[in-house]
């Protein structure tokens, strides 16, 4: 790799690695595993940068999407590992992702230590957004986990996302 490449990648990494790492850490939990995923994410970004299209979103959005995707992959692999260690379980997958599943009323943001706009959402909306975005659960899994009708979960997700967009847009 020529010096110019190295310096360009180093600067790019410095600019976006904290963003990616914060997200991956919340998805994966274990800091060593998160560091591992982070390296993979930037390796992929380096290899895919030629295909990046600025009209499809900011570099931050590009990095975020890839970081979350790899973080979710690692999280699911870990879940499958756990399942194999606990044969015969009938517990829904969703319940295994969070040991506090039996107490849906607990504020989940403790676990993910959320800040900023996410923390500013009403609890019912923040909860579903966190379970989906940082917990990697689908709407059906969230519905099971929270013992709420699927329609309610979908509505809360939509309201939460709209509110998040407003909060972020409000700074303009």
């Amino acid at each position: 790799m020529a010096g110019g490449d190295r310096e360009a990648l180093a600067r790019f990494y410095d600019a976006y690695a904290p963003l990616a790492f914060g997200l991956i850490r919340r998805l994966v939990g274990d800091p060593d595993e998160a560091a591992d995923v982070l390296q993979d994410v930037f390796w992929e970004l380096w290899r895919a940068a030629g295909e990046y299209d600025p009209s499809r979103g900011s570099p931050a959005a590009w990095v975020t999407v890839r970081a979350r995707s790899r973080g979710i992959d690692r999280m699911r692999a870990a879940r499958r590992r756990d399942e194999m260690l606990v044969p015969g379980t009938t517990e829904p997958l969703a319940a295994m992702a969070d040991p506090r599943a039996e107490d849906p009323a607990t504020a989940v943001s403790d676990r993910w230590a959320v800040r900023g706009a996410l923390a500013a959402l009403p609890d019912s909306q923040r909860e579903v957004i966190e379970l989906a975005y940082l917990g990697g659960l689908t709407q059906s899994e969230i519905s099971l986990r929270l013992r709420q009708p699927l329609g309610t979960v979908k509505t809360r997700i939509r309201l939460g996302m709209e509110r998040l967009r407003e909060l972020m847009g409000a700074a303009r």
Binding site: G50, P59, T64
Partner: protein
């Protein structure tokens, strides 16, 4: 938003945050593939909001990750081929973050993320404008071609119209001579009609002449005092028809009769080929 689309607004929010599954996921993916721009924009907006959210959760990674990453990339066998496309993108992305970081000292991560979004949005907008200009240039070239085509048509129509006007003027002129020409053994089906004035030229109309061979032309002659004078050349169309302008025949009166011969292309000063049409008188 229309009521019919309301359902997709909800699916878009779920899709953006990765929560869709089952039939909802399949339905929304199919909807996206159908090219819905409303949903595309919604996803872009949600993506930007999530990126800003993630920015607020930033944490410094352990230092060894960067060292290992750079070492790994140094061994990348495809690095050389990729460099020309990748390095400008990485530089630009880093500069976007740097520009966004200007606000870091004085404001929250919200604002920083927002700057970044705006810079990226401006870049996207510029790309869109470039595409629009290119599109309009293409349209303009197309319009120019159409205009040139129409000008060509107009020129032809004008020429036809001028020829018809001349013919009309001749027909309305009481001093006009109308001369009939009949086919000779070389072209028995041929007929001709010549409208002309000694001092104003005229028009020759023919039918039934054999098609003009490629290296030949038909030539009209005014026979004056037994001597043939050239009176214009013409070719016939696929149906054997022709409408030819006849020039003013200087000092060519009185004409005894008119005749048409087949001559080498371009015409000749004195007839050499077979005679195909001739009048009985002028």
């Amino acid at each position: 938003m229309t009521p019919a689309h309301e359902r997709y607004d909800e699916l878009a929010a779920g899709y953006a945050v990765g929560a869709l599954d089952g039939a909802d996921l399949r339905e929304f993916q199919a909807h996206l593939e159908s090219g819905c721009q409303t949903c595309r924009r919604a996803l872009d907006g949600y993506g930007a909001a999530l990126a800003a959210t993630a920015r607020e959760l930033s944490e410094p990674p352990p230092p060894h990750v960067k060292t290992r990453l750079l070492a790994r990339v140094a061994r990348d066998p495809g690095a050389l081929a990729r460099r020309s496309r990748v390095v400008p993108v990485l530089r630009w992305a880093a500069s976007v973050a740097l520009a966004a970081g200007i606000a870091a000292g004085v404001s929250t991560a919200y604002l920083r993320a927002t700057y970044e979004e705006r810079i990226a949005a401006m870049a996207a907008e510029a790309a869109g404008l470039r595409a629009q200009v290119a599109e309009q240039t293409r349209t303009l070239v197309g319009l120019r071609e159409q205009l040139a085509e129409q000008e060509r048509t107009l020129t032809m129509v004008r020429a036809e119209s001028a020829a018809q006007a001349r013919m009309l003027a001749l027909l309305q002129d009481p001093s006009i001579h109308v001369v009939s020409l009949d086919g000779l053994p070389a072209a028995p089906q041929a007929r001709g009609r010549l409208l002309w004035k000694p001092d104003g030229g005229g028009v020759l109309i023919t039918t039934g002449l054999p098609p003009t061979p490629p290296d030949k032309t038909y030539e009209l002659w005014a026979i004056v005092g037994g001597k043939p004078l050239p009176a214009g050349v013409f070719t016939v169309d696929a149906e054997g028809r022709a409408t030819a302008q006849v020039p003013v025949l200087e000092g060519a009166t009185p004409v005894d009769l008119f005749a048409v011969t087949l001559e080498p292309a371009g015409g000749v000063p004195a007839p050499t080929g077979p005679m195909v049409l001739a009048s009985k008188q002028a």
